[in-house]
Symmetry: C2
Subunit: 204 residues, 2 copies
């Protein structure tokens, strides 16, 4: 395959395609940033546009409307949360801890915070349904890890359903208070969280 020896200022068909895709992603990233920082309602599209040095109508070239942007942000965030990789080996508890670590890392991103902080009441019925489905899958994933841990004796829990719910909820709170107070938001925070969830407060 012949590779271009010099950088051409003219773009090929496919280059233009990807350029558009890149711009769309940039819009999405900007939206995620503003939404997660200011909340969906308080965030105006003028702000989003300003971040990108463009004007509001341009956004409509890439997204149908504000809600479509939000949905894309939330969906992307949830996809990241679901795909948060953990260890494949080790006992149930170790695998769960590894997954939760990945989960926490995602929550510290703009998309993760969008997925977690923004109420799905903002979305249309159709979008909400999709969001619920992915959230359900994440919940099932955690619950399944908990159940596996119970089975191999590495986890003590009487109710995997509530436990999964509590774990997700606790980690989600990382994204909640984070932006306001002066919190040590580095790795240590998530680590302490997970340590607390794994070992509890009572001394062993």
């Amino acid at each position: 395959m012949a590779k271009a020896a010099i950088a051409s200022p003219w773009k090929s068909e496919t280059e233009r395609k990807t350029e558009r895709a890149l711009k769309r992603e940039a819009v999405l990233a900007a939206a995620a940033h503003v939404f997660s920082e200011r909340g969906y309602h308080r965030a105006s599209l003028d702000e989003v546009a300003q971040v990108l040095n463009i004007t509001k109508p341009t956004l409509y070239y890439y997204f149908k409307n504000k809600e479509a942007m939000l949905f894309a942000c939330v969906q992307h965030g949830l996809d990241m949360l679901e795909a948060a990789g953990g260890a494949e080996d080790g006992n149930g508890r170790a695998q769960l801890a590894a997954y939760l670590e990945g989960y926490a890392a995602v929550i510290e991103t703009d998309f993760g915070r969008c997925a977690v902080r923004i109420s799905d009441a903002e979305l249309s019925e159709a979008s909400r349904k999709k969001v619920r489905r992915i959230k359900g899958e994440i919940d099932r994933k955690i619950r399944q890890l908990v159940t596996a841990g119970i089975a191999d004796g590495s986890i003590a829990s009487s109710d995997p359903k509530i436990t999964a719910f509590a774990l997700a909820g606790a980690l989600n709170s990382i994204g909640q208070w984070h932006p306001q107070a002066g919190v040590p938001a580095d790795k240590k925070l998530a680590g302490e969280y997970i340590n607390l969830l794994m070992n509890g407060l009572a001394p062993r």
Copy 2:
């Protein structure tokens, strides 16, 4: 003191005062309900008024504006959270657990959810400052209980600051997902949460 033998249809000066206070409280309760259920921005004052079978302008007779209502809701919720009583005796861990139980119970009320779910970015700078102060006091209270537990050996934690933050965050999440999914929102939920926080997932 002479007590009225028959119920008079006319109200005394003080009775009218308290009646007004009661109405103000009713407005606040309605606002807390709508705010916590739909979120501050999505909630309209027409809705709040409708709940009370009155019209919007009447609300303005009891509160300066929408933000004042929100502030009163949040402040009341935070006051409840701070006053959530725990046991006075027992070791540090027992006292902390008792306090957290009270905390969780408050979060299941409209005011508690307002205090916890609504971003203080909604508030004016002045109100936000007051909110931060109370939040700081709650945080200090939890941290102090954790520290006491560490001192008497009933709690294992390397970092009281982060631990207090994580505890509050975890419990706050009770109020987050609660309204959406079909969750067993009874006593069991909070109980499982606290059990998880106290004992962790790892078997003992």
